[in-house]
């Protein structure tokens, strides 16, 4: 049983590793990338982003093939409600002044080149917040669904 779990965890880690390795490599190469022409940097950034997105879709399709109908129903329920919960949470979070101010401060501090850059960063942070909260919401709803269905009497 333990060997099976270790093998399963190892297999998951190997399958997930490209999603971690590519962004980490990209971040590690930042000092080198800063010395390269903008066109090359942007092309590499786009290639890395496309790879991660395409690989994530591939992983998602691969996992979906192995799910049974109860798990598929759970996945649908989780994604539908998780997205909604995450969006509502994002609105609520943005209504809390200290959090909104922290986001705006971060955008102003990092967008040092021009006010336009700060605005773009602010919008990006807003989108990131929505996506992260939707991800957390989906995870939480999925956990709830799994626990609800998994209550065993065996």
């Amino acid at each position: 049983m333990t060997t099976l779990n270790i093998r399963k965890i190892g297999s998951c880690a190997i399958w997930l590793s490209p999603v971690i390795i590519v962004p980490v490599t990209f971040l590690a190469a930042t000092p080198w990338l800063e010395q390269q022409p903008d066109a090359l940097t942007l092309s590499l950034a786009a290639a890395a982003a496309l790879f991660v997105m395409a690989y994530s879709l591939f992983l998602s399709a691969r996992v979906n093939r192995q799910l049974d109908e109860v798990q598929v129903a759970g996945q649908r329920f989780s994604s539908t409600w998780g997205m909604t919960v995450g969006s509502v949470a994002a609105v609520i979070v943005m209504m809390i002044p200290p959090l909104m101010n922290a986001l705006a401060d971060a955008a102003l501090r990092l967008g040092t080149e021009s006010p336009e850059e700060s605005v773009k960063l602010g919008i990006t942070f807003g989108f990131m917040l929505v996506v992260v909260l939707q991800l957390i919401g989906t995870g939480a709803v999925s956990l709830w669904w799994t626990r609800r269905l998994g209550k065993s009497s065996d």
Partner: protein, 65 residues
């Protein structure tokens, strides 16, 4: 939907995991169906009934529909 999966499993001496393996779903899925928390599709209901060599009506309680 009510069903007699628990009783039928006990008669056969099968665990949820064993039944799950026979009908090719996860143990959690069998647990959810057995406890009436999830209604299976017709193909899965037939698979479960086939595993017990019974008809669907003998495994699932149609009066509870």
């Amino acid at each position: 939907m009510k069903n007699f999966i628990r009783v039928l499993r006990a008669e056969k001496g099968w665990s949820q995991a064993e039944l799950a393996e026979r009908v090719q779903v996860s143990r959690n899925s069998i647990n959810a169906i057995e406890n009436g928390r999830f209604d299976p599709s017709l193909p899965l209901a037939f698979k479960i009934a086939d595993a017990f060599k019974l008809s669907v009506e003998e495994v699932f309680d149609k009066t509870d529909v």
